[in-house]
């Protein structure tokens, strides 16, 4: 079970005002395009369409028609889930991505990012983005939610939580947030929202962003059973294998070298007319190649 702190997102209380998006950008000094029609038109109120190089948090929109009338309009929150078993941390070679010990949040140290983008390919939620991605990759640097550990360490809640007017976002101890989420999910079920559920208790060892989902999971585009790719587990074995294998290989070659010390062989000459291999020092025929018998 996860420990530390958690952000609780109650989708049933979210009014999709996007204040959290703005607060995130403001606190983290992340630019947005300001040119007219700079954002692509998608037909949705969701804007921008997904996380991008300057957007760490986006409120998602999903409409599903009801059987009789109206729609189930699901608002979701898409950002780093701050997994306990964080695949991004597992693959990060530079130590740029790390678990904050006190809160359990997955934070970043930009100074250490080498732009390899391994985190991007490892995350089952497809969250990390990189600024400065180019052909040569000299400037690529990670951009994702830091969990606002700078604010938390100073006794404040994350920027997104601090601005939420509808109390859809809350922040506190992980266990308290989970208890609140479960309680709220039961309330929603009692009101007839049968698909209401808590997301984040079990997923990835427990995430430090816990969701109360009012509608079925697919309306929030969340994976039902997010997993660390088994290939990542295998790759983490490659490093010790390389270490042990290199020692074994060099040891084996060392033995081979020592066993070969002092090796000498006679100088040979081939008499192509007689088909004899001759010892150059003694003139003795070492071997005759019997061409008639089919020897080569």
């Amino acid at each position: 079970m996860a420990q530390g702190k958690a952000i609780l997102y109650d989708s049933s209380k979210c009014s999709s005002c996007k204040g959290c998006q703005v607060a995130c950008k403001t606190w983290n000094n992340l630019a947005s395009p300001i040119e007219k029609n700079a954002q692509p038109w998608t037909g949705s109120y969701q804007c921008p369409p997904d996380l991008d190089t300057h957007t760490r948090l986006v409120i998602t929109f999903d409409e599903k028609p009801r059987e009789k009338y109206g729609v189930d309009w699901a608002f979701g929150r898409r950002s780093c889930m701050h997994c306990t078993n964080a695949a991004c941390v597992m693959v990060c070679p530079s130590g740029c991505l790390f678990h904050d010990e006190e809160t359990g949040m997955v934070s970043i140290d930009n100074e250490k990012c080498i732009g390899c983008q391994y985190c991007h390919s490892a995350c089952p939620f497809d969250v990390p983005r990189h600024q400065g991605v180019s052909f040569m990759g000299t400037e690529a640097i990670i951009n994702k939610c830091t969990g606002c550990i700078d604010r938390i360490k100073n006794g404040r809640s994350p920027a997104c939580v601090s601005t939420c007017q509808s109390n859809a976002l809350q922040f506190g101890e992980w266990s308290d947030m989970l208890a609140k989420a479960k309680e709220r999910a039961e309330v929603l079920k009692a009101k007839g929202f049968d698909a209401a559920q808590v997301y984040g208790e079990e997923q990835m060892g427990g995430t430090h962003v816990i969701y109360v989902l009012k509608y079925p999971l697919e309306q929030y585009k969340l994976p039902e059973n997010p997993q660390v790719s088994p290939l990542i587990g295998a790759m983490n074995w490659f490093k010790p294998i390389l270490g042990v294998g290199s020692v074994a290989l060099l040891g084996g070659l060392g033995i081979s070298f020592l066993r070969g010390v002092g090796y000498k062989r006679d100088e040979m000459h081939y008499d192509e007319l007689k088909h004899d291999i001759v010892d150059l020092d003694t003139g003795e025929v070492i071997r005759h190649i019997d061409k008639e018998a089919g020897e080569r």
Binding site: P93, S94, G95, E111, K112, C113, I114, G115, C116, Q117, Y118, H120, S121, A122, C123, D126, V133, S134, F135, M136, G137, T138, S229, L231, I232, A234, M235, F238, K239, I241, L242, G245, S246, L249, L250, L253, I255, S256, F257, R259, G260, V261, G262, Y263, R265, E267, M268, H269, Y270, E272, H275, I277, L280, I289, R296
Partner: protein, 227 residues
């Protein structure tokens, strides 16, 4: 040393091999700065970024030079392939069976005659060539997939797995190749000059290592140099 020599590797082959050797060494060193967190973390961010970029630049050299070389000498490339895709003789099988005992006891174990490319060489070089191609393909996919084409996460993870896996495979075969090719193993003393010298092999060494091929060359006489 005076005597007869057999031409084994052309200047173009030696140049291509030399550039590939430099590339492989540089790619291995620069790749370690991403593969092994210890190296990543002891270097400054700028230095690691330089190594990553150099990995890409040298990777292009590693890929292009053999291709250009093959295009410049298509006949030679065809002949090169022909040496590797041959039917295994009983001597080839015997060579493979005796290889480990020979490596550990070269004074006692005697190897059978071989053609121009030994059966063990075919296996090892084949592994290096296949490994090199897999590294090139996966490396390009990681590079271009992460910059130009925005490949899916699944594709990138698979490509990384392939890149890391074949790195391990290549470590084994390249180190063994260098041990033998550089003549560190005493029976292979002098072999270094075949690729990093004039490309000629002494008659006696040729008879020892590639008996079938050496006798054939000596009988034909076309590639013999007297010194």
């Amino acid at each position: 040393m005076p005597g007869r020599y057999i031409k084994r590797h052309s200047l173009q082959t030696r140049l291509t091999h030399g550039i590939v050797v430099f590339s492989v060494i540089w790619l291995a060193i620069s790749g370690l700065f991403v593969f092994v967190p210890y190296f990543t973390q002891i270097g400054s961010g700028e230095f690691v970024r330089f190594m990553r970029v150099s990995h890409r630049v040298v990777g292009v050299i590693f890929i292009l030079v053999p291709i250009v070389s093959a295009l410049l000498a298509p006949g030679g490339f065809k002949a090169f392939l022909k040496k590797y895709f041959v039917k295994w003789t009983p001597e080839d099988k015997e060579f493979m069976k005796k290889f480990i005992p020979y490596m550990l006891s070269p004074k006692k174990v005697h190897m059978p005659d071989q053609d121009e490319v030994k059966s063990g060489q075919r296996v090892a070089d084949g592994a290096i060539i296949v490994g090199g191609i897999m590294m090139a393909v996966s490396g390009l996919a990681l590079w271009l997939g992460g910059s130009v084409f925005h490949a899916s996460a699944e594709v990138l993870v698979v490509m990384r797995f392939v890149h890391d896996l074949f790195f391990l495979v290549l470590v084994v075969f390249v180190v063994a190749h260098a041990y033998l090719g550089a003549g560190i193993f005493q029976p292979y003393h002098g072999m270094r000059k075949l690729m990093f010298g004039d490309g000629l092999v002494r008659e006696s060494d040729a008879l020892y290592h590639w008996g079938f091929w050496a006798r054939e060359e000596l009988e034909e006489g076309d590639n013999i140099v007297e010194r």
